[in-house]
Amino acid sequence: MKFIDEYRDSTLVRSLLEKITKAASRRESYRLMEFCGGHTHAFYRYGLIPLLPDSIEMVHGPGCPVCVLPISRIDAAVELAGREGVIFCSYGDMLRVPGSNGKSLLKAKAEGADIRMIYSPLDAVKIAGQNPDSQVIFFAVGFETTAPATALALKQAEQQKVDNFYVFCNHVLTPPAMQAVLDYDGSSDGEEAGDGCLIDGIVGPGHVSAIIGSGAYSFVAEQNRIPLVISGFEPVDLLEAVLMLVHQINEGRAEIENQYARVVKAEGNPEAIRLMDEVFELHGSFEWRGFGMLANSAQKLSSTYAAFDAELQYQVEYPKASDHKACRCADVLRGLIQPEKCSVFGKVCRPDNPLGACMVSSEGACAAAYSYGGAMEVNHGS
């Protein structure tokens, strides 16, 4: 398949692995974080982690939209979905995330709430048009990748004068989360959290960067002095990005480099950015799972679109809720521990019975480690 096969070429992959192994022998350890859940999934799916030299440790980042949404917002979604006359539309990934007492949207649906899985927010606008007597709420989640589609749906609803369409907006932003990962000093946490996450380099988001551009991460290099390489999602992409990071680290450089130039431009996608600017404004403070409240880290509907804002129209409340005591999703999301270090991983917490969000989404580090992780034992055992 064009644009895919050349990035899965076995000769190229082997040659990259040789180069990485050679280059990564200069230091004892290279701790690299792949920020984006899509990358975490790809590293596991292609079985790349066991092929990397022992000196390279891949640390999983918080770039999984399902994972970073705090339990209070899941509870709010379940509450909204259960209201009389509401049709609640959500991406499939969100349905199984457990809220307080394990209550998920999927369970609320089984109990009678009208919850529909959709693939595009435009479908929710369509459903609103077809059901004029119901109020249709779209559960908008995701980073800068899904936000433009929400913006487009809002524009369409406005143009078509659909007045029973609402957005429960939970769009979060990548750069503040990256900042939070890098700034975390390990001050507030348990035994393994001592020094913060100490990363030497970042495999930067691919899809997000296609929207916001490679320029959005300059603080990583300039302030934090950490190299970042934006990467695609195929084996050749990921290994090239790892090699570029190892070279930067060896040479003492901290630059923003772009391995995914076939998709990501320095300026991003101006049309999508313009659309988001038109429809959204910054949320003063937004709660993230694992990070707590982060300033200017999310988007909400601008005042022009207030009539579509489910939070304003329904007076959504966020009663204090806490994650399952044994769940260490927060530490996983901050890159402090590997999923396997969590005491409930693979035991009580499994994809069929997730205690935390990281075990739900295919982009979640715990789900990826659980589904594919045994490959490490396979390779070492055979």
Binding site: P65, G92, S362, V378, N379
Partner: protein, 342 residues
């Protein structure tokens, strides 16, 4: 005698489920002409069938597919192929079927007619007779147009011993052709994706292919048609039941370009896509080439390939080796695969 049904314009109303004249008319004018055979045509409360020699094999499947018409098939042909293939996987010859229809009020007669025609055709192709049938009508909104439950009866010779518990270390794993066509074709034609991919479901009966495989004399250890849950699930089940491990090579698994495109686009794994006209078979390694050649000599096995082998018992039942030396676990899915959102 009431007027004939207006098949072009009419729709099912609740009276067609009341068991009276309308129900009889529905059977007589829509289903009976397509499914007719001497046993069914007697319209008794039960079908009386002479028992053929051998052991009886029975399999039941319910079909709730959406949309009911898809490229390469429909719910009617699928209801035949699904149950017939399950019986064939036991090495049996499928002979008779019983089918039940749950019809939603408001479903057009023309839809039912089209489904009945397709069922009749599929049954004749598979060499089975539908000897018992039932229809029920439910209120609008209580079903999605049409659900079909089908049961197939077949016989298997005494000396055929196929079972998911018979895979042994050193055996070979063969698939009969491209995997995932059905799952990908159905996903792609769903309105919400708006994809334009030229894909056809692989829905077909496998009885004739299985017959020549049995005739080859090779000891077939295990055989499964990888329907719901796809090849990944079938092989996991065999590994668990036999207490062995299975390893497959990614580059050896036949997957069409279009299927790969759908899986890449939606972020799904084609190993979990349903097939409705393919089989996975396990035999001793020494027999593998002979069985493969036999399968490839039949049109339904033209693209058959040896995709891997059986190992001793291990903690991870199914492992996939990628072309560049990476390996990963292929686990059993928890629920449906969900398209990615990032």
């Amino acid at each position: 005698m009431s007027r004939r049904l207006d098949i072009e314009h009419g729709v099912i109303d609740m009276s067609f489920g009341a068991g009276g004249m309308a129900s009889a008319q529905l059977t007589r004018e829509i289903f009976a002409p397509e499914l007719s055979n001497p046993i069914l045509d007697r319209m008794e409360d039960g079908a009386v069938i002479g028992m053929p020699s051998g052991r009886l094999v029975v399999s039941t499947d319910s079909h709730v597919i959406s949309p009911i018409f898809f490229p390469g098939g429909d719910i009617g042909s699928l209801a035949i192929h699904g149950s017939v293939n399950d019986v064939s996987m036991m090495g049996a010859t499928p002979l008779y079927m019983s089918v039940g229809f749950i019809i939603e009020e408001g479903t057009p007669f023309s839809t039912l007619k089209r489904v009945a025609e397709s069922m009749g055709r599929a049954a004749r192709d598979a060499g089975v007779s539908i000897v018992a049938a039932d229809t029920k009508v439910v209120k609008k909104g209580e079903a999605d147009q049409l659900y079909i439950t089908s049961t197939c009866f077949g016989v298997v010779a005494e000396d055929v011993q196929i079972g998911a518990d018979r895979a042994r270390e050193g055996d070979s794993v063969i698939v009969s052709g491209f995997i995932g066509d059905h799952g990908a074709a159905v996903l792609a034609c769903r309105e919400e994706f708006g994809m334009k991919v030229d894909l056809q479901s692989d829905s077909q009966s496998l009885g004739d292919l299985v017959a020549i495989m049995l005739a080859s004399g090779v000891d077939i250890r295990c055989m499964r048609d990888p329907t719901r849950g796809g090849l990944a699930t079938s092989l996991n089940e065999i590994a668990a039941t036999s207490g062995v491990g299975i390893e497959i090579n990614e580059s050896a698994v036949p997957v069409r370009e279009g299927v790969r495109a759908v899986s890449e686009l939606l972020g799904l794994d084609s190993l979990y896509f349903a097939c409705e006209g393919r089989l996975a078979v396990i035999c001793a390694a020494k027999d593998a080439d002979r069985l493969l050649a036999c399968m490839q000599s039949h049109p339904k096995g033209e693209h058959a390939a040896i995709i891997g082998g059986v190992t001793g018992k291990r903690e991870i039942p199914l492992i996939l080796h990628s072309t560049f030396g990476g390996s990963r676990v292929v686990s059993v899915l928890t629920g449906d695969q969900m398209p990615r959102i990032c």
